[in-house]
């Protein structure tokens, strides 16, 4: 089983520049206020329905929210 690896914002920055899809799962108004450049918005409540049509199955995806738990 693969062991999860903790990544930081610099990792995300580098990965987003190399083709990884970055997804913000907050509601649309919050996404419109501010988001990571290049990130697409799929609100959490719509993730199950929209992910299959908006995300390519063969591309890695990074999902983020507002802050850490």
């Amino acid at each position: 089983m693969a062991v999860p690896r903790l990544i930081g914002r610099d990792d995300v920055h580098a990965m987003s520049a190399s083709g990884v899809v970055v997804v913000e799962v907050l509601p649309a108004p919050e996404y419109e206020e501010e988001h990571i450049p290049g990130a697409i918005n799929i609100p959490l409540k719509k993730l199950d329905g929209l992910a299959p049509e908006r995300l390519a199955p063969d591309r890695p995806v990074i999902v983020y929210c507002y802050d850490a738990l």
């Binding site: 914002r9 990792d11 996404y31 450049p37």
Partner: protein, 134 residues
């Protein structure tokens, strides 16, 4: 990563309506003099003065803020060690703090400069109210 707050707090770019709001990170002076704990105050004072500053920020080898040498500390004793005269644990602010918000925080205390650092405490620069258009 700790969400988009962590992203912005680290000084990385942001898009969206609020991105147009001036943030202190964009105004922070990146060339603020730095010092290490074992440095001599006199050496730092001369270096700071030569660069037009009357303060220096004490940092680790990784750039993490440990303290600050205020103008008063820089004239204490040229042979003193930085660690003996610095003011430890200065307040720092994240680069994504709106300029207006920080101005309102600093004004009642008559403070005109603030350190800008990442969530990990790494120095990014110093914000000065002198750099804000009236």
């Amino acid at each position: 990563m700790g969400g988009k707050r962590d992203w912005a707090g680290g000084g990385l770019p942001i898009e969206g309506h609020k991105a147009q709001e001036p943030r202190i990170g964009s105004l922070a002076r990146r060339d603020v003099p730095t010092a290490r704990l074992g440095d001599k105050v006199g050496d730092i004072a001369r270096s700071a003065e030569g660069r037009g500053y009357d303060l220096a920020v004490v940092v680790t080898s990784d750039g993490v803020v440990l303290g600050i040498l205020d103008p008063e500390a820089l004239v204490v004793s040229s042979s003193a060690k930085v660690e003996d005269v610095m003011r430890p644990g200065p307040a720092t602010f994240r680069p994504d703090v709106p300029v207006q918000e920080l101005l309102e925080k600093l004004a009642p205390k008559h403070v005109r400069r603030a350190l800008v650092a990442t969530p990990e405490g790494r120095l990014l620069g110093v914000f000065s109210t002198d750099d804000v258009a009236p």
